[in-house]
Symmetry: C2
């Protein structure tokens, strides 16, 4: 197992990960508090897709005492957006709706440029604005959502990043991110830029604003530095809520990734491609139809079952039925894939329509300085 | 001897320095070419105040073939401006006038913040704009001079800096600047920001523009990285012309420094203070007046003689007479100090008037993005 902000590989043991990262599991009582504050539950919480946190209890204390929090998440624009990116954003939208929270959305064209060989800066900036369309398409509140592309919002970010950078030694950055002497100085500076939005709401409002970061757990190392430094800057430590990875199409021991297009459903894929990709997805069913009918399949390793569970079938009753029938062999892999394909195609058809409309809405969402 | 961009101490052996830094002495033939191109000479050249260079011959090749070059210099705003800062700027103005060259003037409030303990960012930015007044007061051409404060011009600088940073490993930065694991990640990134203006004229004009950097020799390490990277970015390597340090008032084996106010004449000092400071300056004369009259003094270690030589007495005949008379004992230390004090006070009275007028001229000089 290897989990860093830039690489996820091997079989992910989430228990070990929370221990190694030093984050906390979302306990039953904490889940109850969150649901109570939100006024409803969310299937990504009850199904432990969002399973880990930092200081969520502290954030709820503040919230219960009437202190509004802001949300912060981001996107590294190294390619087209895929379903794995959308998963935490769907949950983020729920958080925004339920808590009437402002959302600060960072698009890190600078990071992708300094980290990835062979990518031009102009290319990552272009991808940044293209990826923004997927964010807007999800229906975030234009009055409460502030999207910014790093190189275009650097005037504000840089001042906060300098405060972070001054208080972060190379040795600390090395320990947290595994940098070495061959790492370029853009990459070693970059954690300061990713830290900046943790303090951006406070910086802009000239008051201390609690911040909650919904993001996949591999991004957690980034918040260790701002959490460490926050008190010295007079800011709250950012809180975080972490999700598991949406697996790639090739199996549940992988993470959907732009760099492996064959394992990935992109937001711009056409219905026929989606259908084909899902048909080729890793199956947890029997080797033959006969064997599947007799012995049943394993929905925990079946990619189609997992996509339904984590993202596309919010109805607990329906997902239980599908899983039960799949386990018993009453429902085949092909049938589950058909169910999923229909859901994904319906979702993407609507998403692509909204994505087109988003092209005329950029000004309502982009934060400029 | 210790010479880095942040520290100058010990007896400066300029011969050793050019060897260690790998720069070249300005030879007689090269000086002749520069004078011919400029249409006149400058006493700071003939007196070897500007004594060393990188690629000045290459720059003149280009210039003689009709290719215009731009000038780039800078200021680190950690305190008030003093005479030691003004020295290269006076020469830079001569270069601008003689070569009708654009000047890009970087004020590095970000650097001073990340490098210096106990300085707030707001403070270095305030000092930046205060120091700008001294630059404008020197009479640079408002149509050809572009002054920018890093944190306010970061949108343009950042994009160029990222290109540099991506191509600079921590190990290279370490070797050039002596960074170690305890250096903060703002400081290790910063060379990329100081490199950016080398390529700014080309970036803004969308064509390759030769750049000449007039600066004190301690700043030379900064240009090694952009010179190394330039070909990979498709830009010319920046050329440089280096000056020796104006000594502090306490003796010729020191550099005038804002952090040692007692050794420093600031641009805002009043006539009485200037007089007092100069009277207390290190003398190369005899221990008593009697001894001085008999044995004479040493103008090479006498601070007042050196200030006249390097900056305040451009007339070669007059400076020779003063030095001869000082050596013979005909002129006393007190008399040389009186000559210098009059010159400095006259200069600063005029400078302070222009400095006041500069407050209304900022918009004409500041580069914004």
């Amino acid at each position: 197992m290897r989990v860093t902000p830039w690489e996820v590989s091997g079989h992910i043991d989430y228990d070990r990960l929370t221990k190694e990262f030093g984050t906390s599991r979302i306990t039953k009582p904490l889940l109850g508090r969150l649901e109570k504050a939100a006024g409803e539950s969310h299937f990504m919480l009850t199904r432990k897709v969002f399973f880990s946190h930092r200081d969520l209890d502290w954030l709820l204390d503040r919230y219960e005492r009437g202190e509004q929090f802001a949300l912060y998440t981001g996107r590294g624009p190294s390619g087209d957006t895929h379903l794995g990116h959308l998963l935490p954003w769907v949950f983020t939208k729920w958080l925004q709706d339920r808590f009437d929270a402002e959302l600060y959305f960072q698009i890190t064209d600078d990071e992708k440029f300094v980290v990835k060989e062979g990518l031009e800066l102009g290319e990552t900036t272009r991808l940044a604005y293209d990826n923004v369309l997927d964010i807007i398409a999800l229906g975030f509140d234009p009055n409460k959502t502030f999207i910014f592309v790093d190189t275009d919002y650097i005037r504000s970010l840089y001042k906060i990043a300098l405060e972070v950078a001054k208080r972060t030694t190379f040795s600390t950055a090395k320990a947290v991110f595994g940098f070495d002497n061959s790492t370029n100085i853009g990459t070693t500076f970059w954690p300061a830029i990713q830290a900046a939005p943790c303090f951006l709401p406070s910086y802009l409002k000239k008051m201390n604003v609690p911040v909650l970061i919904p993001a996949a757990i591999d991004q957690d190392p980034y918040w260790r530095i701002p959490r460490d430094i926050a008190p010295r800057l007079g800011y709250y430590k950012p809180a975080a809520i972490h999700n598991t990875f949406l697996p790639g199409l090739q199996g549940s021991d992988s993470k959907m990734s732009s760099s492996k297009p064959e394992s990935t459903i992109f937001t711009t894929d056409k219905p026929d491609d989606v259908k084909k990709k899902i048909q080729r997805a890793f199956s947890g069913g029997g080797a033959t139809m006969k064997e599947h009918r007799e012995k049943g399949g394993n929905p925990d390793t079946d990619v189609a079952c997992q996509y339904l569970y984590q993202m596309f079938e919010p109805d607990d009753k329906k997902i239980k039925d599908i899983f039960d029938d799949y386990r018993s062999g009453a429902v085949s892999t092909g049938e589950v894939k058909d169910i999923l394909a229909k859901k994904v195609i319906a979702f993407l058809t609507e998403h692509q329509k909204k994505r087109e409309e988003a092209k005329k809405k950029l000004d309502k969402f982009m934060l400029k300085d």
